[in-house]
């Protein structure tokens, strides 16, 4: 392969080779781990900074304005200016707050957001850890951010925080189930939980999104992922117009920035996971593999920002109904379609599973519509 393809791998090998000359073996292993960790710890915040800029830029363009364009060329230094502002802000802790919990919550919320990057394959041979349970690890670790949100909302001793925390947890628990169910087809077809082998199963343009089950599975997964990271239109936990800022009402300065950072890093992780599971990960022609991964992830991020620029916030019963009545049955039946796809021989499976998918889509849609709440009549309104 050409050098641009595996430039990061080559660099790492060179560094390790340099240290291998005069250090014992075990330190080289530790250095290798440290290099991966450092790469992730740098990559996460840098991505977050870039994402804040991108989000403001794209939302600005959607709303017929420029977005940030003062600090640096195209406003690219805006995140740094924001960071300086955050750092110099006063750090406020409410007097009645549970001090320890209040302090620990923003610290803990960043940990899962960084940990999930360790199993994402950023390119050919560029997963920091090739866990054989990588996908499950991703899902398990990302649930831990729930706990941090709980801690923040409880520790603030604020009713709005508590409401936001309750909403966040109810939403995350609900959306986790269709999310896990929608990745089951991928596991079913590849027969592995390792991210690297999932990407390898899609090499050569056989992306899962091009199959009937993969297409709808990707939609379900992506919607659930957007809900998991509390982004619009699922941003009830921090709905500004309803409950101030939700669980981070009482946080200011760098602690707030940590919450913000965790949110954006998880958003990128979800985008990267969608790209990995359904869009072939780093597979693609011409460009180096890591660039393909970034391109796909940023396409997903763009869709998230596009959602944010377009859609208003869900009502809480619509939110729950969407997860339990539409996404969950659809994700479950999608597993059945994937099994059909896997069982039947090659030309037949496309037709059969496509028809099954369409039938299921219609059935689930009408079944979920049937008992949607009646139009309310307001007795006292007139």
């Amino acid at each position: 392969m050409e050098t641009s393809e595996s430039i990061f791998v080559v660099i790492k090998k060179a560094i390790l080779g340099f240290f291998h000359g005069f250090l014992p073996d075990w330190t080289v292993v530790i250095i290798s781990i440290l290099i991966s960790v450092t790469a992730i710890v740098i990559f996460g915040p840098v991505t977050m900074m870039f994402l804040t800029w991108l989000e403001r830029k794209v939302v600005g363009r959607i709303q017929n304005r420029y977005g940030p364009n003062r600090a640096g060329i195209f406003g690219l230094l805006q995140p740094i200016a924001d960071g300086v502002k955050m750092l110099t802000k006063e750090d406020i802790v409410p007097r009645a707050a549970d001090k320890v919990t209040h302090f620990l919550a923003p610290v803990i919320v960043v940990i899962p957001a960084l940990l999930v990057f360790s199993v994402l394959p950023f390119g050919r041979g560029m997963a920091a850890v090739n866990l054989n349970v990588g996908l499950l690890f991703f899902l398990a670790v990302s649930t831990m951010s729930t706990i941090a949100i709980f801690m923040g909302s409880w520790g603030s001793r604020n009713k709005f925080s508590l409401l936001g925390g309750m909403r966040a947890v109810a939403q995350m628990v609900s959306y986790e189930i269709p999310m896990v169910m929608s990745v089951v087809p991928v596991i079913l077809v590849t027969g592995s939980l390792s991210m690297v082998s999932i990407v390898e199963a899609q090499l050569g343009g056989k992306w899962f999104v091009l199959t009937p089950w993969g297409f709808f599975g990707a939609i379900v997964f992506f919607l659930c992922g957007v809900a998991e990271v509390n982004r619009t239109p699922f941003d009830l936990p921090e709905g500004e117009s309803e409950i101030i800022a939700g669980f981070h009402t009482e946080y200011s300065g760098m602690k707030f920035a940590l919450f913000y950072m965790a949110e954006f890093m998880s958003a990128f992780a979800i985008a990267g996971l969608t790209a990995t599971l359904f869009f072939g990960g780093w597979d693609g022609p011409l460009l180096p593999s890591w660039l393909w991964f970034l391109v796909k992830s940023y396409a997903m991020i763009f869709i998230m920002i596009w959602f944010r620029g377009t859609l208003p916030r869900f009502r809480i019963d619509q939110l729950m109904g969407f997860a339990w009545k539409l996404l969950l049955p659809f994700a479950l039946l999608n597993i059945f379609v994937a099994a059909l796809w896997q069982m039947l021989p090659a030309p037949k499976n496309l037709i059969v599973s496509g028809i099954a998918e369409a039938v299921i889509l219609v059935i689930v849609f009408f079944a979920s519509r049937k008992d949607s709440p009646k139009k309310r009549t307001y007795v006292f309104a007139d």
Binding site: W26, V29, A96, T101, L136, A140, T146, R157, G165, V169
Partner: protein, 169 residues
Amino acid sequence: MDVLHNLARLGFFAATLVTLAAAVMVVTLRNIFHCALALILVLLGVAATYISLKAEFFAVIQILLYVGAIMTLVIFAIMLTSRIGDKTVLQNNRQGLMSFSLLALFNAFFIGSVIKTSWHLNPAAMTANVDAGVLGAAFMNEYVFPFEIISVVLIVALVGAIILGRSDQ
């Protein structure tokens, strides 16, 4: 590579110590919310123990189910049943000393007997690779009946919890 093994073992010992300390916090702290947080630490430490037993899949399941689901439930229940400022209420009854002494006695005997026992180690099991595939195959072949029973139990628990938790009537 011996150094690495020793480091790993040191890390494991530290993890068990942290786990035990957190477990003590679970049963002694006054603030029930802090107890729940300590319990999360315990569960993560137990997951680390599973990793040291080369049961990565099970460790991840532990995190996914316990930390993600059960602890969320517990914290939800805490939030619904206690007011924000409660921490002065005495959380323990007066059986502490008696329980402690009896359990200390039990542990003395238990640890003594464990140390004296010579275990019949199975070297094949120690090196075997137990991943998700092996577990899934076992679930679907040998243990399919308990698996079905468990799923029935789970559904019953689900329905029961919904009925018990309903607010009206």
